[in-house]
């Protein structure tokens, strides 16, 4: 017993080291975001700020480049996630429940697209989007985001859907429920967690995307936060933009942290469900 406890204690110590590894860079980000932008002139930067200031956050939220990017990011990521989840839900339902020709082909195609180098598409898409008049628009980013989110959504959801005891639907109908009632009262509650988990993973993907965001936009009409961050120059050209970039980074990291804190179990299940059959 005693040795068991000692062994389990060691695993906790290793676990703490992993936590430090995962969170230390975040601490550095937060620390930088509270520094006075002028501190870097001294030449001997410290880890923590000498004085903690809110100025960077004020500057960032007063900058229309950032606020419009934040609106674009939220809007584009939410719409692309919604469309991807709905489209993938139909496909995943068919994959999990039906036999039809082309099912294997669809799954293989999804796999191929998951491995696809997006950079190989920026040229043709850039050209096509200009001709179609959707370059530098929300829809111009939503369409490719939807596409590249589909493979992950289809796998994750079909893996979840396969575990649903579909017979219960018939059982409910035998017990006198209508088809719609059986679907709504029995199947929807069983399927909802899988759909929701898929939505979180898809949202992360859209929130994170950078290459297409800088290739298919040119102004703050559709530029998302990652793209805007790469063009950030700060309040004036004489100031270093470092602290502002970090303040903006903290702002876009907050939704990620909140989602992870609330839905840790689901995200874990979703990440592994699609990849290795559990």
């Amino acid at each position: 017993m005693a040795t068991d406890r000692r062994v389990s204690g060691w695993w906790t110590v290793w676990g703490l080291l992993i936590l430090v590894w995962a969170l230390f860079p975040l601490l550095w980000m937060v620390s930088l975001s509270f520094k006075d932008p002028d501190t870097f002139r001294s030449g001997t930067p410290t880890f923590f700020p000498e004085t903690w200031v809110w100025d960077n956050y004020r500057t960032v939220f007063a900058d229309s480049l950032f606020t419009s990017a934040l609106i674009n990011s939220v809007g584009i990521a939410l719409i692309a996630t919604l469309l991807a989840v709905v489209t993938a839900m139909f496909a995943a339902y068919a994959i999990a429940r039906m036999t039809y020709p082309g099912k294997k082909f669809l799954l293989s195609m999804a796999l191929a697209i998951a491995m696809f180098p997006q950079a190989a598409l920026v040229g043709p898409l850039f050209n096509m989007w200009r001709n179609l008049g959707i370059y530098d628009t929300w829809i111009g980013l939503i369409i490719p985001y939807l596409t590249f989110a589909l493979p992950l959504s289809i796998w994750t959801m079909s893996a979840f859907f396969r575990q649903i005891p579909w017979e219960m639907e018939q059982a409910a109908q035998v017990d006198g429920a209508t088809a719609w009632q059986a679907f709504r009262k029995v199947i929807v509650p069983l399927a909802a967690p899988g759909v929701f988990t898929t939505a979180i993973l898809t949202f992360f993907f859209c929130w994170n995307e950078f290459l297409l965001a800088i290739s298919l936009t040119s102004t703050d009409r559709a530029r998302t936060v990652p793209a805007a961050l790469s063009f950030f120059t700060g309040a004036s050209q004489f100031e270093s933009p470092i602290t502002y970039i970090m303040a903006a980074s903290v702002v876009v990291t907050i939704p990620v942290v909140i989602l992870v804190l609330i839905f840790q179990r689901r995200i874990m299940a979703g990440l592994t469900a699609g990849a290795v059959k559990g």
């Binding site: 489209t87 139909f90 496909a91 294997k104 596409t147 970039i245 990620v256 992870v260 559990g278």
Partner: protein, 310 residues
């Protein structure tokens, strides 16, 4: 796309005997899959074909009238240009080093997450934060930590005024560190899923037979996890091969730190050199096909699990 023939299809049942019900199921299945299929074709297959066509022309957006058919000349231009090979080398170094480190580190993390009792959900929550963080943000965090005017690394390691972004190897070190920090969680979760699948009885049996911990790991755990390891490796390798965000943010490709994705972006979007840019795009796509082919045929990675075939 080359992956469609990974598996030989089982013989089809005789088609003539399809019942009404089966026929209706087929039609509904196809209808439900159609939207996903069409979107994927429209955004990937069609532009790829378009890129193949464009790559046969000399074509700049700034000079549309000067467009002319040049056959495969763009390909020979790209492949004889040292820039392509430098970028190829950079991409290869980043991919090999980061995937190798991540595999070892990811395995260690997976093992800890598997064994840990107290603090289990805390560690599992913490590790998801790098996974979810925006790559551009990760790039900035690591860049500012190593940069001379803002970073603490030089003070802590006593490196004085060593400029990490002043030459190729040290800039690549920082790029790879950011890449490793951000993506090890993903690989470790895939490996954890594989680790959970190894039956505990095998471990017990080996222990009873007097196997040491190292022998149990090498002879029992690893062979039983082979499928999960190969899938994790394939995914991460192809993901690392596409690296763009980290070098773009940290160095803008200076000191030979440009990657292949970066080259495709620069040719197509910055220089609007559609002909040569499309040739780079097609070549980049072909490298990915080759890597996937090596994994599937060479290492016999079983993708049926990933695809979700029954």
């Amino acid at each position: 796309m080359a992956l469609t023939e990974v598996r030989v299809a089982p013989p089809e049942p005789a088609k003539a005997e399809l019942t009404d019900r089966a026929r209706r199921e087929r039609r509904l299945g196809l209808t439900l899959s159609a939207p996903a299929f069409l979107v994927m074709v429209f955004v990937t297959a069609y532009p790829l074909i378009y890129a193949v066509v464009l790559s046969l022309y000399n074509y700049r957006l700034t000079d549309p009238a000067g467009r002319e058919f040049v056959g495969l000349r763009n390909y020979s231009t790209v492949l004889t240009d040292p820039v392509w090979w430098t970028d190829f080398g950079t991409t290869l170094i980043i991919t090999v080093v980061s995937v190798a480190v991540e595999l070892v580190l990811g395995f260690a993390f997976a093992f800890v997450m598997y064994r840990i009792i107290r603090g289990r959900s805390l560690v599992r929550t913490g590790i998801l934060i790098p996974y979810g963080i925006v790559t551009v943000v990760s790039a900035y965090i690591w860049q500012f930590a190593f940069q001379l005017d803002s970073g603490f690394v030089n003070q802590w390691l006593g490196l004085g005024t060593f400029n990490f972004f002043g030459q190729r190897w040290s800039a690549l070190v920082v790029i790879i560190l950011s890449e490793i920090w951000k993506t090890t969680p993903f690989i470790s979760l895939l490996l954890l899923a594989g680790l959970v699948q190894v039956p505990e009885e095998y471990q017990e049996a080996a222990r009873v037979d007097g196997a040491t911990a190292w022998q149990r790991l090498r002879r029992v755990t690893l062979p039983n996890m082979k499928a999960a390891i190969m899938v994790a490796l394939l995914f991460r390798t192809l993901d690392a091969w596409r690296i763009f965000d980290n070098p773009f943010i940290m160095t803008r490709g200076a000191n030979d730190t440009e990657t292949l994705s970066f080259l495709a972006y620069r040719q197509n979007v910055t220089l609007v050199n559609m002909g040569a840019g499309s040739a780079v795009s097609v070549l980049l796509f072909l490298t990915v096909v080759v890597i996937a082919f090596i994994f599937v045929k060479g290492f016999r990675t079983d993708l049926s699990q990933v695809r979700g075939d029954q």
